[in-house]
C-alpha cells in the first residue's frame, strides 16, 4: 500500500516538474507582453524574467503553497487556480462519468452479444479520430457527453470482446455448457470471474482514455470544463495552471491504475 502511494506521489511530482520544464524551455516562453509596458523599470523587467526562469524554485514555492491549499494564480484567466478548477471540474467529471458509464454499458453489452454487423460498426468508429467524432456530433446537434460515449464504447467493445471470446473457449466453460448450464449463468458465474483482472485493467485504461479524449471533445464542443481549461492554458502558456492540471490528470490516471492493480492482486 505504502509502495503504491509512494509511486503515485513520485509520478505526480515528476509530471509536475516535467511540465514546468517543458513550459520553461518551450520557444517563446520568455517573451512577456507585460515587458512592453513603459511604466516598468529595467529592474521590474529583470524581476519578471527571473521569476519565470527559476523553474525549480517556482515549483518548490508551488508545493509549499499546495500544503496550505493555495494552488496559485492563473495569469491568463486572471483568477485563482483553485477557484477555476472548482468551477470547471464538475462539468468535466460529469462528461467523463457519463462517457465511462455509457461507454462501458454499451461496449460490454455489445461485446457479450457480439455479431459481425456490430463488430463492423464498432470497427468503423474505432477508425475515426476523437476530434472527427466530436465534429460530427456537433454537426448533428448531439450533446458533448454523447461524444465520449461514442469514443469509449468501441474501445471497450474491442478489448472486452477479445477477452470474452478467449474466456468462452476455456475448458470449464465448455464443461458447464455440456452440463446444460444456462448462458446467463455461464457468463456471471464462470466467464466474468475469470476475466475480472483483465476487465479491471481495462477499467483503469478507460479512465485514462476518457481524460485524454476530454480535451479535443471540450475544445471542439466548446464545453467549459477542465479539458478546455488545459487547452487554453497550453495556448496561453500559463505555467501555474498547466502544472496543476497536469498533476490532477496524473493523479487521476495513476490512482485508477493503482487501485485496479491492487484490487486484481487480491
Amino acid at each position: 500500500m505504502l509502495r503504491h502511494l509512494a509511486r503515485i506521489a513520485v509520478l505526480v511530482l515528476a509530471s509536475g516538474v516535467a511540465c514546468a520544464l517543458l513550459v520553461r524551455y518551450a520557444p517563446g516562453t520568455m517573451v512577456d507582453e507585460r515587458e512592453l509596458d513603459r511604466r516598468l523599470s529595467e529592474e521590474n523587467i529583470r524581476e519578471l524574467r527571473s521569476n519565470k526562469a527559476d523553474v525549480l524554485g517556482n515549483f518548490k514555492r508551488y508545493l509549499v503553497g499546495l500544503t496550505k491549499g493555495d494552488l496559485g494564480y492563473s495569469q491568463s484567466n486572471n483568477a485563482p487556480i483553485a477557484a477555476l478548477i472548482a468551477d470547471r471540474a464538475p462539468e468535466t467529471l460529469r462528461e467523463i462519468g457519463i462517457g465511462l458509464l455509457g461507454g462501458w454499458a454499451i461496449g460490454l453489452a455489445l461485446a457479450i452479444r457480439r455479431t459481425w454487423a456490430v463488430s463492423a460498426g464498432m470497427g468503423l468508429l474505432l477508425s475515426l479520430p476523437t476530434a472527427l467524432i466530436a465534429y460530427l456530433c456537433v454537426m448533428k446537434g448531439a450533446k458533448s457527453s454523447l461524444v465520449l460515449v461514442i469514443v469509449l464504447a468501441p474501445k471497450i467493445f474491442h478489448f472486452a470482446g477479445n477477452v470474452l471470446a478467449q474466456a468462452y473457449t476455456a475448458l470449464h466453460v465448455e464443461m458447464a455448457r455440456a452440463r446444460g448450464v444456462g448462458e446467463a449463468r455461464i457468463l456471471v458465474s464462470h466467464v466474468f470471474p475469470a476475466i475480472s483482472p483483465q476487465l479491471l485493467a481495462l477499467a483503469a485504461a478507460s479512465v485514462s482514455m476518457a481524460i485524454g479524449a476530454a480535451i479535443p471533445v471540450e475544445a471542439i464542443c466548446d464545453v467549459p470544463g477542465l479539458g478546455r481549461l488545459a487547452w487554453n492554458a497550453a495556448m496561453a502558456r500559463d505555467l501555474p495552471l498547466l502544472v496543476n492540471l497536469t498533476m490532477i490528470v496524473a493523479v487521476a490516471t495513476t490512482m485508477a491504475t493503482t487501485v485496479t492493480a491492487a484490487i486484481s492482486e487480491r
Binding site: 509530471s15 476530434a131 472527427l132 479524449a213 479535443p216 487547452w231 497550453a234 502558456r237
Partner: protein, 256 residues
C-alpha cells in the same frame, strides 16, 4: 480472404498516394465547385481540386505516420532492449511509467501547443513527425522489454550461452531475429494510431499547416460552413485505411 482484401486495398492506396498531383493549383473561376468530370470531388473555397489535395494529403499522412512509427519503434527497441538486458532498467521503466501516467492525447496536444504554431508547412510536418515519434516510445518499449526478458531466459538462449556463444553473436543471431516479429507488430499497430493522432492534431489546427494538405487539415473543413456529401471523402478513406490495419493485425499472434 478479408485480410487479403485489406492488404490489397492498402497497397492500392499507397500507390495512389504516389500519383503526381498539383495540390496547390488554384482554379480561381471555380471556387466551391460541385463534383464534375474535371473535379471528381469538387473544389474547395480557394478553388483547389479536392481530389488532388486528398491524394497528396494521403501521401503526407501515411508517410508521416510511418516515419514517426519507425522512430518510436527504434526508440522502443533501443530502450526496451537495454532495459530487458538489465541496462538502466529502473530508469527506463520509471521514465516509461512517467510518459504513460499521462493520457497520450493529453500529452501530445499539450506538448504540441508549446511548440511554435505559425511555422512553414515543412517545419510543421517535421514537428508533428518528431513529436509523435518521441512521445510514443513508452508503450512499445515496455512490450519489447518484456519480450527480451522472456527471450533471455528461454532454453535456446541458455543453450547458446552454455555452448560459449559470444554476447554479440547471441544478440545478432539469436535475440534480434526472435524479437523482430514483436517490433514489426508494434510498428504496424503504431501506424494507424499515429494516423489518427495526426488527424486529431490537424483538426485542432496543431498538425500539418496549409497549404500542404493532410488528412487532419482536410477534415478541418467539416468544422465550419455548409457541408456537402463529397467533403466526406477523406473520412471514408481514413476509416478504410485505419480499418484495414485493424483487420490485418487484429488476430496476429506475436507472442514469443
Amino acid at each position: 480472404m478479408i485480410r487479403t482484401i485489406a492488404i490489397s486495398f492498402l497497397i492500392v492506396v499507397a500507390l495512389m498516394a504516389l500519383a503526381p498531383v498539383r495540390y496547390e493549383r488554384q482554379f480561381r473561376d471555380s471556387p466551391n465547385a460541385a463534383p464534375s468530370k474535371q473535379f471528381p470531388l469538387g473544389t474547395d473555397d480557394l478553388g483547389r481540386d479536392r481530389l488532388s489535395r486528398l491524394i497528396y494529403g494521403t501521401r503526407v499522412s501515411l508517410l508521416l505516420a510511418t516515419a514517426a512509427a519507425v522512430l518510436s519503434c527504434l526508440g522502443a527497441a533501443l530502450l526496451g532492449g537495454a532495459a530487458g538486458f538489465g541496462i538502466a532498467d529502473g530508469i527506463i521503466l520509471a521514465t516509461a511509467d512517467l510518459f504513460l501516467s499521462l493520457p497520450w492525447l493529453f500529452l501530445l496536444l499539450i506538448v504540441r501547443a508549446f511548440l511554435p504554431l505559425n511555422v512553414s508547412p515543412m517545419l510543421s510536418v517535421t514537428i508533428t513527425f518528431l513529436l509523435l515519434g518521441a512521445l510514443g516510445w513508452a508503450a512499445p518499449a515496455k512490450v519489447v522489454r518484456a519480450a527480451v526478458r522472456k527471450l533471455r531466459g528461454s532454453d535456446f538462449i541458455l543453450q547458446a550461452r552454455a555452448a560459449g556463444c559470444a554476447p554479440s553473436r547471441l544478440l545478432w543471431k539469436h535475440l534480434i531475429p526472435n524479437a523482430m516479429p514483436i517490433l514489426w507488430a508494434q510498428l504496424f499497430i503504431t501506424i494507424p494510431a499515429y494516423v489518427l493522432a495526426e488527424t486529431t492534431l490537424g483538426m485542432l489546427g496543431l498538425g500539418v499547416m496549409e497549404p500542404l494538405p493532410s488528412w487532419g487539415n482536410l477534415l478541418r473543413e467539416l468544422g465550419g460552413g455548409a457541408i456537402h456529401p463529397w467533403q466526406f471523402a477523406p473520412v471514408l478513406l481514413l476509416a478504410a485505411v485505419v480499418g484495414s490495419f485493424q483487420v490485418i493485425f487484429e488476430r496476429e499472434d506475436y507472442s514469443v
